[in-house]
């Protein structure tokens, strides 16, 4: 099928009826396959192994991980930034593209948004998991307490606490608002207690004109509200590094570079997640290569920005003639962590270039495999930034080499299991495609079809 990309209506089968859309989208809520249970089992196994590692760390201390002084941050912060980055695409697609009236967002935004929320929930685990005394991690939250403790608002970590929690709150509210009409649809398709739950979630949605008017105003408002957060949250995360003195971190380039990277990885992750969804549930009417091609184009744009940032980083370091700065960038490319650096370059800068060919960016296998390479590349990008800079700080007498060990890998597995647990639950309790918005794209039912539609 060739769809003209400027014709929004063309992407959906105009023969589809409203009822058919609801039925198609809600089908996974009522059908459970063996594959689903297998997936869930895998996820629970991952959680069990990761939990075992976390408990060891809790009892014996962070020393069970592979840290080697002065590398005080390693895989955990890498994975934190990775998940925060993943959490970017959802709100970008749902809010920013909504404001830009990009029709291609319709099919993918719900799942992308869910991915965002779960990614942020996963990321939020890590600040707690990586601190030395995780039972005291709540001290990072400012609240009136008898110990008269107060927080240091100079610290980028505090900004981080606020940036991530704000982003999470707003994304969740925005996600929920989008779901209200769809919850109503589920309410109408179910019976008994379940229906009551959805009725509660739908907060009395009837689809009246008045409700729609309020709804659209609220939706637009939150879209506008969430848009700056898309830029701010990863900028703030980047300040965890850019505000520090450490060579290789201390750079004004970081906020745009991190945001571009986050969108890059987020869009790649959307492709990675939605492609199986579309194939398994046979949703090619709603999510198809037209959507993926747009996502791939987003990746091409942000990937180009990223490549530019990589080049500029090295250029600035060389041009500055700062021995520490240039030392660290040389070290990244040819030092102990050369393999990390080159995995990053190949996965982020080279492999995605195949998408410049239209055939490649509309081919499912090619899309999916390249998107996974981008995910890997983006994880290694963060590892490259964090580990190499700390391993080669200012004083050469304190240099070291760090590699994560099985405990940290276990926690990494835990994070993926945790994320997929939520995602697997999501596809069974919520519509993964926005029913109401898809219907908006369909030609409105004509009067002659009113009876048909009313059934």
């Amino acid at each position: 099928m060739e769809y003209p990309s400027n014709n929004a209506e063309a992407m959906v089968d105009t023969e589809l009826s409203y009822r058919q859309v609801t039925t198609d989208v809600l089908e996974p809520l009522f059908k459970f396959s063996k594959a689903y249970w297998a997936g869930l089992t895998l996820v629970l196994l991952g959680l069990a192994y990761g939990g075992f590692c976390i408990i060891q760390q809790l009892v014996w201390g962070l020393g069970v991980a592979g840290y080697s002084q002065p590398v005080f941050w390693g895989l955990y912060i890498t994975t934190f930034v990775f998940w925060v980055g993943i959490g970017h695409a959802g709100t970008l697609i749902s809010a920013v593209l909504f404001l830009f009236r990009s029709k291609w967002r319709t099919g993918v935004y719900r799942a992308a948004e869910a991915m965002t929320i779960f990614a942020v929930m996963t990321a939020a685990l890590f600040p707690a998991l990586h601190v030395g005394r995780m039972w005291n991690a709540y001290w990072l939250f400012p609240y009136p307490n008898q110990r008269q403790l107060w927080q240091n608002f100079k610290s980028p970590l505090m900004w981080d606490v606020f940036a991530v929690s704000t982003y999470f709150t707003v994304s969740t509210i925005f996600f929920y608002i989008g779901l209200i009409p769809d919850f109503a649809a589920i309410r109408d398709r179910t019976r008994g207690a379940i229906s009551k739950v959805y009725a509660g979630l739908a907060i009395g949605w009837r689809g009246t004109d008045r409700q729609w008017r309020h709804y659209m105003a609220a939706y637009g408002f939150f879209a506008a509200f969430a848009t700056p957060l898309v830029l701010s949250v990863h900028s703030v995360v980047s300040w965890d590094f850019a505000m520090a003195q450490t060579a290789g971190w201390h750079s004004t380039l970081f906020p745009p570079y991190f945001v571009a990277g986050a969108i890059f990885s987020g869009c790649a992750m959307v492709i990675t997640l939605l492609m199986p969804l579309s194939v398994i549930f046979k949703w090619d009417k709603y999510i198809n290569e037209w959507h993926f091609e747009h996502l791939a184009k987003m990746c091409l744009l942000t990937g180009a920005i990223l490549t530019y940032a990589y080049v500029m980083e090295h250029f600035i370091a060389w041009y500055s003639d700062n021995p520490y700065e240039w030392g660290i960038f040389k070290y990244r490319a040819v030092g102990d962590y050369w393999w990390v650096f080159w995995i990053m370059v190949v996965c982020n800068c080279v492999i995605p270039l195949v998408w410049w060919w239209k055939k490649a960016r509309t081919n499912y296998w090619c899309l999916w495999i390249v998107s996974i390479f981008i995910n890997i590349g983006m994880w290694f990008e963060r590892f490259n930034i964090i580990a190499s800079s700390l391993a080669h700080q200012f004083d050469p007498a304190a240099w070291t080499y760090y590699l994560p060990n099985y405990i940290e890998i276990g926690v990494l597995i835990f994070s993926f299991a945790w994320f997929f647990l939520w995602f697997l639950l999501f596809v069974k309790v919520m519509p993964s495609v926005a029913i109401a918005e898809v219907k908006e794209l369909l030609p409105p039912p004509l009067r002659t079809d009113a009876k048909e539609a009313a059934k």
Partner: protein, 992 residues
């Protein structure tokens, strides 16, 4: 649920809630506060009592002050009153505290591996001696070097039993003693005074580390201090490798092993010519062909001529060979000849205040005893690990062959046999004793705490033994001095002392001995007062004038020849020494300064050999000689010759205690005889990977502008702070600061104090004493080999070592890096919970119990000065008693770092506040343990708000610079750049 009412519900809620709240806290340790039932006399809780006593870590006889808190000694520091080490206490001496608290100590006498009572132990001992006598067998004593009353008593008892007393030191200076005998006819060794010498030449003597006292370090510091004596001394060394001393010299001459004597003789010839020397040695030097000897050694002739010129026109001192010197005696003789022709004898090389070697034997005498083991009924072993420190199995065989082994030792060792009787004497800190390690310096050892275990000091045992055997000991009289030593100049005529009956206790014996041998030489009249003063000051020290000696050498020694093949040389570990301190965890945990290695044995090989063998960082190598082979880690030292392999001694025990047995290998097993250098060795790559690790990341400073060199000719050009330091980045423009463009935040306020430190890199020798002192004062965790390998060493003070050059100008630079207490500290801003902050005294304070462990501070510290508790590192009992009660112990998940010993600052501040005063400068300069331990006075602490303080002065030095000043962290530490005599270009950084 209907029958539960509100009150019951609340009860259940309250109980279960409290119970769960109580049970979830995994970290709070249980603490008990127990009051004294009867308050001990001397103890004021919270106030330390200091006892002057002696250090027995080696046989140099330094004085120490033992800091006793609530009945336990928690720290050893220098005794400023003691002439041997007024400058400092070395790393080994500070770590000797752990001997007392070793978890492997015998808790009482042992008979054949079983715990016994003292009655049983003494009974068995007496019975063994009686049996030996009855069977007509010999009684022998093998022990470490002892002097003073302790030695006298043992000599008397052994004399009465008709046995020999053999005292031996594996690292004793017997070669030098023989050389002195040959050259000057004196039984003794000379004293080398470095502080007046403008040229110091060492033939491998590691005088800044394991050879001699920390006084050498002080002299090194003074000699290099341009403000001290108007010159900057030059240090030279001749050695096939770079020892801890040689890395600090200006010029290193890498003579082929075996040719050092030739180099010394060639130098002597040239110096004699230049000085027109016509003394007794001139005739001997006639036949010397300087050029040929120098050519044979592989050293450049120009350097030798340069050195000879210097020695001819400047005051100099030449020190003899160390353990890695082949032909030690010949080299020692040649250096004495060189000293003679350079006019040093009587000036910088003196006699009369020299080490007391009375009773010290050669290894040949030890070997004779071991060979005769069959005929020995009882062998007394006095704190000497003969089995570990001697090659081959002779010692083990002998120990098994003797009738009964009676060992005076506190901890297990390889030398103990299954049938041995162990009579633990208690440690230096628990018992009475004394030494006269240097003629005329009588150091008194007093118990600084009660014994932790059921011990009895060797003196008491000997007295009891004498009593049990019915021996009549000779009366305590003035000991006969060897000929050729000076008289006490403050001593009056010896008074006639009444011979007293044999005392009951060693304390009484000691007092008697002192009365006869020390008191009698003074003009004091009241012995009790004299005794009290001596106990208080740590001894009685006669000052003697050093004097010259008459040259009497008959024939020059052999000039030697270069060794065939690859030469093996062993050198002592800077802390485990010859292996006697291997069970002190600090000895392993504190990195060896040159390599940064912790926990293990390594061999120094040349980088060329590393490449030839295809070695990688974690590989091990097998060293093989005709006597045996060991597998060790390696260090590719840029300073060792290709035809030399040097191995560190002191590790790799088997039965020496839990820490001693943990890592390493014993290289003594490679020796074909009791000579540490000269065996031919082969090196091969081994299959295992090493367990040793280095705390130092990189060999060099990677062209970064961190550690600076200034040229000697630039000194005194009158520029301001940092004026002659070649900074890569220009100093920060004051105008920027004033315009508020440089700093976002205002300068922190320091109303009264701004504590700061100046570290003079010019005199720092990399001896590691500051590091051990820091460990001891701050209860820094020992993490062990495995955690060290994972990069978790907790030392607050990193001794950064940058190896910037090799060859003739080694240029190895030290930089002790601790928390820099920045005014704009990068760590403070990033802590989300304000667990670290800048206080009004200028300290970067750390609140342990507030820290949640984000470790952001540590990432942001450009000095990498912070340490993180990855685990709770426990101390086995009874090490807990050793911990400083002033300092919190940190548990897992908490960040820590140098605090400038805030506990000491607080103590000083409150002491002076009681009198309404500020802490004066003299109370601050050496307040910190690192500063106090520093042998070369490199570390100065003080208050910057006091413009006249020493530290303020040093901050104004033209050599002063802040580490990484371009980051504008405004540190409270300044480094004073090292001075170089070299003309080399020391530019830093790239691109300009």
């Amino acid at each position: 649920m209907a029958d539960i009412n509100r009150r019951d519900f609340l009860k259940v809620l309250g109980i279960s809630g409290t119970a769960s709240a109580c049970s979830i806290d995994p970290v709070t340790p249980i603490e008990q506060v127990l009051p004294y039932v009867v308050t001990p006399d001397q103890i004021v809780p919270g106030i330390a009592t200091w006892f002057a006593t002696q250090c027995t870590a080696c046989s140099e006889g330094c004085g120490v002050l033992a800091k006793n808190r609530e009945g336990r000694v928690v720290m050893l520091e220098r005794n400023p009153e003691h002439p041997t080490n007024k400058g400092s206490l070395c790393a080994m001496g500070i770590a000797d505290l752990q001997a007392t608290y070793s978890p492997d100590r015998f808790e009482g006498p042992m008979i054949a591996g079983r715990r016994a009572t003292w009655d049983q132990g003494m009974e068995a001992t007496i019975a063994a001696v009686k049996a030996a006598k009855a069977n007509g067998k010999r009684v022998a004593w093998l022990g470490k070097h002892r002097t003073g009353a302790t030695a006298a008593l043992a000599n008397d008892v052994m004399g009465a039993l008709g046995g020999e007393t053999i005292r031996w030191e594996p690292l004793g200076k017997q070669a030098l003693r023989k050389a002195t005998k040959a050259v000057f006819g004196i039984d003794g060794i000379p004293t080398y005074t470095l502080d007046q010498a403008e040229t110091v030449l060492s033939f491998g003597a590691d005088f800044l580390s394991t050879w001699g006292t920390p006084e050498h370090n002080r002299h090194y510091g003074l000699g290099r201090d341009p403000d001290h004596c108007g010159f900057i001394a030059q240090f030279w060394s001749v050695e096939p490798r770079l020892s801890n001393t040689s890395v600090n010299v200006d010029i290193h001459l890498s003579a082929a092993p075996g040719t050092e004597a030739g180099v010394a003789l060639a130098l002597a010839k040239l110096v004699a010519e230049k000085r027109a020397y016509s003394g007794p040695a001139s005739a001997l030097l006639q036949g010397i062909d300087a050029e040929a000897l120098v050519a044979a050694s592989g050293v450049r002739m120009e350097r030798i001529v340069e050195l000879a010129d210097r020695m001819a026109s400047h005051v100099s001192v030449v020190m003899p060979g160390g353990t890695t010197t082949v032909n030690e005696v010949d080299v020692a003789i040649a250096t004495l000849v060189l000293n003679e022709v350079a006019g040093n004898v009587g000036e910088t090389v003196t006699f009369g205040q020299d080490s007391n070697l009375a009773g010290l034997h050669d290894y040949e005498d030890v070997a004779a005893v071991l060979a005769d083991a069959e005929n020995i009924g009882v062998l007394f072993l006095d704190e000497l690990d003969i089995a570990y420190t001697t090659p081959g199995t002779a010692a083990n065989d002998a120990l098994l062959a003797v009738g009964q082994l009676i060992a005076f030792q506190n901890e297990p060792s390889e030398s103990l046999t299954d049938t041995a009787i162990v009579l633990p004497p208690g440690t230096t800190l628990e018992t009475w004793g004394d030494n006269e390690a240097v003629h005329g310096r009588h150091t008194l050892q007093q118990p600084a705490m009660t014994s932790l275990h059921d011990t009895r000091c060797t003196g008491d045992v000997l007295l009891e033994l004498a009593k049990g055997l019915g021996i009549e000991l000779p009366a305590v009289t003035a000991s006969v001095r060897a000929e050729g030593d000076g008289e006490a100049i403050d001593g009056g005529p010896a008074e006639a002392v009444e011979p007293a009956p044999t005392p009951d206790s060693f304390l009484a014996y000691l007092a008697e001995w002192w009365k006869a041998n020390v008191f009698a030489k003074t003009d004091e009249t009241d012995f009790d007062a004299f005794w009290r003063t001596s106990v208080q000051t740590g001894g009685h020290f006669f000052s003697r004038l050093g004097k010259g000696a008459d040259f009497g050498l008959e024939a020059l020694p052999s000039a030697g020849a270069a060794q065939e093949g690859l030469t093996l040389g062993l050198f002592p570990h800077h802390m485990t020494f010859d292996g006697r301190h291997a069970n002190r965890p600090w000895a392993h945990e504190v990195p060896e300064p040159v390599t940064g290695y912790v926990w293990g044995t390594w061999a120094e090989i040349s980088p060329k050999m590393e490449a030839d063998l295809g070695l990688e960082e974690d590989d091990t190598i097998t060293l093989t000689t005709s006597a045996g082979s060991v597998e060790v880690a390696y260090f590719a030292s840029p300073g060792i010759r290709d035809d030399m392999v040097a191995v560190v001694m002191g590790n790799g025990h088997d039965g020496g205690g839990r820490y001693a047995d943990l890592t390493g290998a014993n290289p003594v097993q490679l020796l074909t005889g009791m000579k540490y250098a000269g065996d031919t060795v082969t090196v091969a790559k081994a299959s295992k990977t090493t367990t040793i690790s280095s705390r130092l990341g990189n060999l060099t400073q990677d062209n970064r502008p961190i550690n600076y060199i200034v040229k000697a000719k630039d000194i005194g050009s009158g520029k301001g702070p940092g004026g002659i330091v070649n900074l890569h980045h220009p100093p920060i423009d004051e105008r920027l600061t004033q315009a508020g463009l440089l700093d976002m935040y205002p300068e922190p306020e320091h109303p009264t104090y701004r504590f700061a430190m100046a570290v003079d890199l010019n005199s720092c020798t990399g001896c590691a004493a500051c590091q051990v002192a820091c460990y001891s004062e701050n209860n820094i965790a020992v993490v062990g080999p495995e955690q060290n390998r994972r990069g978790r060493n907790m030392g607050w003070l990193r001794l950064s070592r940058y190896w910037e050059g090799s060859g003739e100008e080694p240029d190895v630079r030290w930089q002790p890096v601790m928390c820099q207490h920045c005014s704009h500290a990068p760590c403070e801003g990033v802590c989300p919970v304000l667990a670290t902050y800048h206080n009004l005294d200028g300290l970067n304070a750390m609140i342990y119990n507030r820290c949640v462990g984000t470790r952001y501070c540590a990432n942001n510290c450009p000095y990498s000065a912070r340490r993180f508790n990855y685990h709770t590192y426990d101390w086995p009992e009874p090490f807990l008693m050793m911990l400083n009660p002033e300092v919190n112990n940190r548990t897992m998940g908490v960040m820590e770092k140098c605090t400038f010993c805030i506990q000491r600052i607080r103590e000083a501040k409150s002491d002076y506040r009681d009198h309404g005063q500020l802490v004066p400068d003299e109370a601050l300069t050496k307040l910190l343990p690192c500063a106090s331990a520093c042998g070369s006075d490199s570390i100065t602490f003080g208050n910057l708000k006091d413009p006249d303080s020493q530290v303020s002065e040093k901050f104004q030095s033209e050599r002063a610079y802040a580490m990484l000043s371009e980051l504008n962290t405004k540190p409270g530490v300044r480094y004073l750049a090292r001075i170089s005599h070299s003309e080399k270009d020391y530019g830093h950084g790239g691109g300009h």
